[in-house]
């Protein structure tokens, strides 16, 4: 990597530590190389999977640590730790810690200087091809720094957690290699200074997601889940690519600064900008699991639980929200696209929340909750409240990572208990849990903090961000660009009221299903089994430590951006910080200073809090963990409950409407007809093989092997040539 001069010239950050921004993604990449090398060199000796774990595959769930607990007394299957485990445990989280430190240092350097313009660190010219000129450049600005902090910060905690969670997995170095590679690509995604660089990270995290979902690839269900995630994401990436093509064809540039400068020339509410934004949103819907492309995320829970926490909750799936915030200058010019984003977001939030009500798998509850919360973020960025969307992204990263890691800790304990007694039962089914608060008090308290945060109880992080999004939706119903256009015939203002109502309903459902999860997991009697109970225990400190940090963040993370009406006055740290990036775009939507009256805002907050409390009360009074029956003896659900348990049969509908027709066309028309019939037969067999064979037949007739014949032919040839020269 060349140390070239930054092109921005007199930017206040040039010459500072921000010049070293390229080290932030490079460090995890080096970690990937080291861990990958250790994985490859040891792979020949250690198989892809511990054979002793094979007997515990029956449930097809999160079982890679089936041999977990080697150091905790139940040595039924003493499995030696990986021979490089020590080195990997240092390199894997270590590079993340270094990246995090560098990010903090750059952040400190940014505090003292003007942040109006982004600092672009150009590394080299990547694609100088004709009119297209793309630099490999990284961008340091408030938005990218917020994302980098979240990715490296939460990433570091999850890496530490993984040290405990994956300790006895035979694929330990491979796991950390993938995880480091993921972080490297994620950092390229958030730091890239142009759409193509962002896209490299975008595709890279998709690859790592695929690799980590199918981490235990010997189980076909896991490998299928990985493929599903990859293929569904390709549909979204198609949208992203088309958006980039449109931008290049019309603006001639692809870096954020260039597009931002060129976009207004296309005109407000012009079809071009609207289409670009809609195609970008298709990409976001794929990556961030929105309707209609959300189906891959719940299946992605096949991966190790820390992966679910890092990739499928805290960072990668929020890339779509980041992309829209990053493209705020485009979206603010396209109110119709914004309304689409907001409506789809609200629809997803509500839809996924209803499914979450009836799932039994603890990770699936959290998966649908993630889909639902991502919907919230899209509502935020959709109505032009980019700060609120990013705010919710940050707080969600804290409490959802905490929830997933907490569930990982629970599953870890459950699995150890089942493993110790050779029980084949499902370690992730909440019907098999119950009363775990007595066995794992630390996880119990921290999970409740995260639950209250996601439900939107005041003081906790999620309350402030969720409230800010809902408040912004309400404020936009009047006197904004959104309220002046109509969306499929519905006036924008009216649509936003619908979005607001859907958001509130989703908040109610969130409170219900999260409380339900907590009740079934931690309260009531224990249903794990008589023999298993003595084996249930809290996870080791390397796992609970990150949980505690995330718990503190879930408690106080909301203070990043307190609402204006508190007596403290507005402490909008995050809003002030992001102002240079998204401020103009937000003002373009609201038409300048348009804030809700304090009385209205109090009413909205009151409604939101009341809804959350009502949700919790409903769950506590209606659900009786005492009556729950373990999975093996549980009766079948009926009616609408069954529809919810089967996720509205969306997978089956997609299978019937899309997958099967495509497979049928591929097999019967493309494969049999075109490939075998036309290409193989006509082009290959007839033209490709037939004509050379015919020519070869003639050629081989000429070659008689008779020297005399050759001599005659030679003589005739010589005479012909001489004759041609002579009688020319």
């Amino acid at each position: 990597m060349l140390l070239q001069e930054a092109t921005t010239g007199a930017h206040p950050l040039s010459g500072s530590i921000a010049e070293w921004v390229w080290l932030i993604p490079l460090l995890p990449f080096l970690g990937f190389l080291i861990n990958g090398w250790l994985s490859i060199t040891s792979a020949a000796r250690v198989g892809p999977k511990d054979p002793s774990a094979a007997g515990h595959d029956a449930v097809g769930h999160d079982h890679g640590h089936a041999s977990g607990g080697g150091g905790h007394g139940d040595d039924h299957h003493p499995v030696a730790r990986h021979k490089y485990a020590g080195l990997v445990s240092i390199v894997g989280p270590g590079v993340l810690l270094l990246s995090f430190g560098l990010t903090v240092a750059i952040l400190m350097a940014m505090l003292g200087v003007s942040r109006e313009a982004p600092f672009v660190r150009t590394l080299y010219s990547w694609m100088p091809a004709g009119d297209l000129h793309v630099d490999a450049a990284l961008q340091v600005d408030p938005l990218s720094m917020v994302m980098t902090l979240v990715v490296t910060g939460v990433g570091t905690l999850i890496h530490f957690f993984s040290v405990g969670y994956m300790q006895d997995d035979p694929g330990y170095p491979r796991y950390f290699a993938y995880l480091n590679l993921f972080v490297a690509f994620m950092l390229v995604l958030v730091l890239g200074a142009s759409y193509p660089v962002l896209f490299v990270g975008w595709e890279g995290v998709g690859l790592c997601s695929y690799l980590l979902i199918g981490f235990w690839f010997t189980d076909k269900a896991n490998a299928d889940a990985g493929k599903k995630a990859f293929i569904v994401n390709r549909i979204g990436d198609f949208g992203f690519l088309v958006a980039m093509f449109l931008m290049f064809a019309n603006f001639g540039v692809l870096d954020f600064a260039g597009v931002s400068a060129a976009a207004p020339s296309a005109g407000f509410n012009s079809p071009l900008i609207t289409w670009i934004c809609l195609f970008l949103f298709l990409g976001c819907a794929g990556k961030s699991a929105q309707i209609p492309l959300y189906v891959w995320l719940p299946d992605a829970m096949a991966g190790p639980t820390p992966v679910s926490a890092l990739i499928h909750a805290a960072t990668m799936v929020t890339a779509g929200v980041y992309l829209i915030a990053r493209s705020a200058f485009l979206f603010s010019l396209a109110p119709v696209a914004q309304l689409t984003v907001a409506f789809i977001g609200a629809l997803t939030a509500l839809f996924a929340a209803t499914i979450g009500l009836k799932q039994w798998d603890i990770k699936r509850v959290l998966a649908y909750s993630t889909v639902s919360q991502l919907g919230y973020m899209f509502v935020g960025v959709g109505v032009g409240a980019y700060t609120a969307g990013i705010f919710h992204l940050v707080t969600h990263a804290f409490f959802k990572a905490l929830l997933f890691l907490g569930s990982g800790s629970v599953i870890f304990a459950m699995h150890r208990a089942y493993h110790a007694t050779h029980n084949q039962d499902d370690a992730q089914d909440m019907r098999n849990m119950g009363g775990l608060r007595r066995y794992m008090p630390v996880t119990f308290v921290l999970m409740w903090i995260a639950t209250l945060a996601i439900a939107g109880i005041p003081i906790f992080a999620g309350f402030f961000s969720k409230d800010e999004i809902l408040g912004a939706v309400f404020a936009r119903t009047h006197e904004s660009t959104l309220s002046q256009v109509s969306w499929l015939g519905i006036p924008g203002g009216g649509l936003l009221y619908i979005v607001y109502a859907m958001g509130l309903t989703a908040a109610l459902l969130t409170a219900i299903y999260m409380t339900r999860m907590m009740l079934y997991t931690f309260h009531g009697p224990n249903r794990t089994g008589e023999k298993e109970q003595p084996h249930l225990a809290e996870a080791p400190w390397i796992m609970t430590g990150p949980l505690v940090v995330l718990g503190v963040l879930s408690l106080f993370g909301g203070w990043l951006n307190l609402p204006a009406l508190l007596p403290l006055g507005r402490v909008g740290v995050l809003e002030h910080w992001l102002e240079p990036v998204v401020g103009p775009a937000t003002n373009a939507v609201t038409g300048g200073a348009h804030e809700l009256a304090h009385s209205t805002e109090w009413a909205l907050i009151g409604a939101a809090v009341a809804i959350a409390i009502v949700g919790i009360i409903i769950a506590v009074t209606r659900l009786k963990p005492e009556r729950l029956i373990p999975k093996a003896r549980a009766p079948e659900e009926h009616g609408f409950e069954r529809v919810l348990l089967n996720k509205y049969y969306v997978d089956e509908i997609y299978d019937a409407l899309i997958v099967r027709p495509i497979v049928w066309v591929s097999r019967n028309i493309l494969a049999t007809g075109i490939d075998e019939g036309l290409i193989d037969k006509v082009f290959v067999t007839w033209i490709g093989a037939g004509i050379p064979r015919l020519l070869g037949w003639f050629g081989s007739r000429l070659q008689s092997g008779q020297v005399g014949t050759y001599a005659w032919v030679l003589l005739i040839g010589v005479i012909a040539v001489l004759g041609a020269f002579t009688f020319r």
């Binding site: 081989s700 000429l702 070659q703 008689s704 092997g705 008779q706 020297v707 005399g708 001599a711 005659w712």
Partner: protein
Amino acid sequence: MLAESLALSAVLFSIGAIGVLTRRNAIIIFMCVELMLNAVNLTFVALSKVYGTAGQVFVVFVMTVAAAEAAVGLAIIIAIFRHKQTVNLENINLLKG
């Protein structure tokens, strides 16, 4: 003198060429090839009177090559004879396509 020399070499070359084309015995064909080479040599020598000594230099080269060719060619013919008990070219068509 030049005309006679060229005429003689033309006659020798033609005899050699006809021999190569019509005979079936490898040894005779081989000798006919030598005859053609020497006819060319004669032409070189004859023309060197007009165009300078370069022709005579060529002759030395041609003779060297002809000697090497004779050695290799005869060795091949002996090998063929040992293999097939004949040097009649009509029976030798191993390179038939």
